[in-house]
Subunit: 332 residues, 2 copies
């Protein structure tokens, strides 16, 4: 009996050693073409995980933050959460007969999205509040889960969760395999991302940071609920991202990944720390396989960020050149 | 060589099995006297960790939340953070000659704490803002670390971190050993607790939720800083606790520990979930070893909570009867 156990353990050990040997030769991020961008990621991870090195960072401090829209999944022709809001307004219209004569809803319900959004920030805010508030957190979670499981992108016909970037999924997995804690830090809604972030990105709800509306605790027939109010609580974008990071994490990340000027302050905040730091911009250069846009785009504008990345030596990913594939394989 | 390895592994395994055997017979929370309170904690942990049982909860969902003041450390004769604020006002007085003629500062600087606080919430808010805002997050962290390492409690003469409850430290450790994630959810300041919570409680900064003032991102000579503004951001007390839990964690805890009516909504929110839930109130009954107070106390009032605990069968800890010791041993 004891001999059997020892044999089993020896066999187990042999398998473990084999795995370790494999890990050293297997490409950890295979969807990346060889080049400066890929090498910079691997070099950084090796550097901070090498025990005894002056660049070594303890696992507790290995915090990596990722923007979502345009960094982990696509964001054209408009932020996917806005497409969710438009669908939601249509679904709610029967309960709101007054919307027929009230902008931005009137245009929206006629199918004139462009006219509806012509009202700018104010119009968008009205649409967001009408579509996101007025329910409980549990109800909203169900609505999001149902939409994300069924709604299709107008151009690709894919589920939105099938428009996440395969090369970035590999970076997330690679970092976690090296004891990083991976966070989303997005201008998008925190409660819009949490219902699917664990399944799609492997990022649990407590590691999702985003914009939010206020909520209020109530007892309804003795049952506690959190009611979502039509009032902005926090905008997690631009200079708000370091604020959100500090509020939720309470320590400075050592690696940050973004794609737009809205991520610039997050990258500045991350790289201003004293131990080795890493910053990366995804540059949308692939008009064929995805979308090509940067300095002049109204969505995901990357202008100041490109200049600062060049000046500071941050990694800039050329999607067309650096990525073998764009989207993760469709899951059935 | 191979034989040596196998022998070493066999020896290692023997030690592991020995540890496991020990764990089953060793008391996981030895500072608790036998009784209903102790048994309820152990029964709950066994129940939710037993694979195959209908009460089994996956590790990802094993979230436990703890109030801080009066639950993990003492809170008399006033919240320790208020004592920090008073010390801070004295330290800052030379830079504020106008305080000599301005309440609540004038009374405070003359040593009349009672007069200073006679202005109620408004006076306390003025003291908190004067003592907590106007610096960067990094500067404030240093100030807190220095105070917590040196300041002594007026009655016990102990460092404040030597006034944490040994029985509760054991519960934290016991839960974590069973794959729980432990969080602080306190009415106290989030940035007041984070600098020492990991060392004292084993709770990392990203698992501390508390009240906060607003912060603002700025570049100072090209260096990014977060400036602490004299403006309330969030009050994590009472009905604010479920809001804070939802904002930071995004899922419902399965266990909650508090000591006052300010924790009532947190316990309600936690126990309203569907899988097995646990709620515990620490009742301050030991006037000799600590302080005795409940329904009539202005600090840590426990009135409605006592009634609801009785009605719902929540665990109520009688500190005098249930705890062998109060404070953790003084660390040197």
């Amino acid at each position: 009996m004891k001999q059997t156990l020892i044999t089993a353990v020896a066999l187990g050990l042999a398998l473990i050693f084999n795995d370790l040997a494999m890990a050293q030769t297997t490409d950890p991020i295979p969807s990346w073409n060889d080049g400066k961008a890929k090498q910079s990621i691997i070099d950084f991870v090796k550097k901070v995980t090498k025990k005894g090195s002056s660049d070594y960072v303890t696992p507790a401090e290995r915090i990596a933050v990722f923007d979502n829209d345009g960094t982990l999944w696509a964001e054209q022709p408009m932020y996917f959460q806005l497409l969710f809001a438009l669908d939601r307004v249509k679904a709610l219209a029967p309960e709101h007969p007054e919307w027929k004569d009230k902008e931005p809803f009137a245009s929206l319900l006629k199918g004139d999205v462009k006219d509806a959004l012509a009202g700018g920030e104010h119009a968008i805010l009205e649409i967001l509040m009408a579509s996101h508030a007025g329910n409980t957190t549990e109800e909203f979670e169900k609505i999001v889960k149902n939409w994300i499981a069924t709604a299709k992108h107008p151009k690709t016909g894919r589920l939105y969760t099938d428009m996440v970037y395969q090369p970035m999924l590999e970076v997330l997995t690679y970092l976690r395999a090296n004891d990083f804690k991976t966070y989303i830090v997005s201008g998008g809604g925190i409660e819009f991302m949490r219902p699917w972030s664990e399944q799609v990105y492997g990022i649990p709800p407590e590691q999702v940071i985003g914009s939010s509306i206020k909520t209020k605790f109530e007892l309804r027939d003795g049952i506690p609920v959190l009611v979502r109010l039509p009032e902005i609580n926090f905008i997690d974008d631009g200079a708000g991202k370091p604020v959100g990071i500090n509020q939720h994490i309470g320590r400075r990340p050592i690696a940050a990944f973004g794609n737009s000027d809205g991520d610039l302050q997050m990258l500045q905040w991350t790289t201003a720390g004293q131990v080795p730091r890493f910053a990366l911009y995804v540059h949308h250069t692939d008009g064929e396989r995805e979308w090509a846009y940067d300095r002049d785009s109204s969505i995901g504008r990357l202008d100041k960020g490109l200049d600062e990345a060049a000046a500071k030596g941050w990694t800039v990913v050329d999607m067309k050149r650096d990525w073998k594939v764009i989207y993760a394989p469709v899951k059935r």
